[in-house]
């Protein structure tokens, strides 16, 4: 984990981890999010809640997709980078696994009795932006949560 205070009044905090695509990595990502909160005590609870949900949903989606890969596919790690600045909290997931066949514009919330399929719809509902791109051999997921203005602020 690294912390880069670019400016004393407008610090940017960066937390990063490289993890294997195992379900057990989910707890490590929860802990990474908690580490980001520990360095940004002024973040609101609603922002923290929706950001953590989006991060865990996307991480779970990546891990589940990798578990469906052919048995002879090479195991690749996931690099998780969380960043907080005064305006936004962002998460970036990078991996060198197979490309994901997903159309985020077509994601929809399933009906109430569904047992699967809510993850990305919930993430889109909670966050301000969610993108997926394939850059060369790298999958890149980017999540953005625009921070609520502090109470009494005119921002």
């Amino acid at each position: 984990m690294t912390t880069n205070p670019h400016h004393v009044n407008h610090p940017t905090t960066v937390c990063q981890l490289t993890l294997p695509p195992h379900p057990e990595s989910i707890d490590a990502i929860h802990d990474l999010v908690a580490a980001l909160w520990a360095q940004n005590s002024q973040l609101s609870d609603p922002d923290k809640g929706r950001f953590e949900l989006g991060v865990i949903e996307v991480a779970s989606n990546i891990i589940e997709d990798m578990r469906r890969a052919p048995p002879d596919a090479p195991q690749v790690n996931i690099v998780v980078t969380l960043t907080a600045d005064p305006q936004e909290i962002t998460a970036r997931f990078c991996d060198e696994g197979r490309a994901t066949d997903i159309d985020l514009s077509a994601v929809d919330m399933p009906d109430e009795m569904a047992e699967r399929g809510r993850g990305l719809a919930l993430t889109q509902a909670m966050l301000d932006d969610l993108t997926y791109e394939r850059s060369g051999s790298t999958n890149i997921w980017t999540l953005t949560c625009v921070r609520a203005a502090p109470k009494g602020s005119a921002r």
Partner: protein
């Protein structure tokens, strides 16, 4: 942290308390615990979420699965004590329409009597 506790009320209703995080790791364990209770003849269940600070779609799917299993066994499922984050997720997914939510275990268990 991932422990799931169970206790039995005087009227035979089972109270199951998931851990702080109900995610892709712990959700299958919750479904397994409910399955064991049903196999033992206990299909009236209250899931006590007062300790659950985080729930994701895996957790939601597990709750729906548990609801179906208890009803198929002739019982039912109630949810008690949603924390603010959990309540927000229920609202966004409209799960409040199918999961009967109560503020406390006592209120949730009383709804089985009516």
């Amino acid at each position: 942290m991932t422990d799931i506790s169970t206790r039995t009320l005087d009227d035979g209703i089972e109270v199951v308390r998931p851990p702080e995080r109900l995610n892709m790791v712990t959700a299958p364990r919750l479904v397994a615990v409910i399955g064991d209770l049903i196999a033992g003849g206990h299909a009236r269940v209250v899931i006590d979420l007062t300790a659950t600070e985080f729930i994701d779609s895996s957790g939601l799917g597990a709750l729906v699965s548990c609801l179906k299993k208890t009803r198929q066994a002739g019982g039912d499922l109630r949810i008690a004590g949603s924390t603010p984050h959990v309540q927000t997720v229920f609202d966004l997914t409209n799960l409040g329409r199918v999961l009967q939510l109560s503020t406390t275990v006592e209120i949730a268990s009383a709804t089985f009597q009516t």
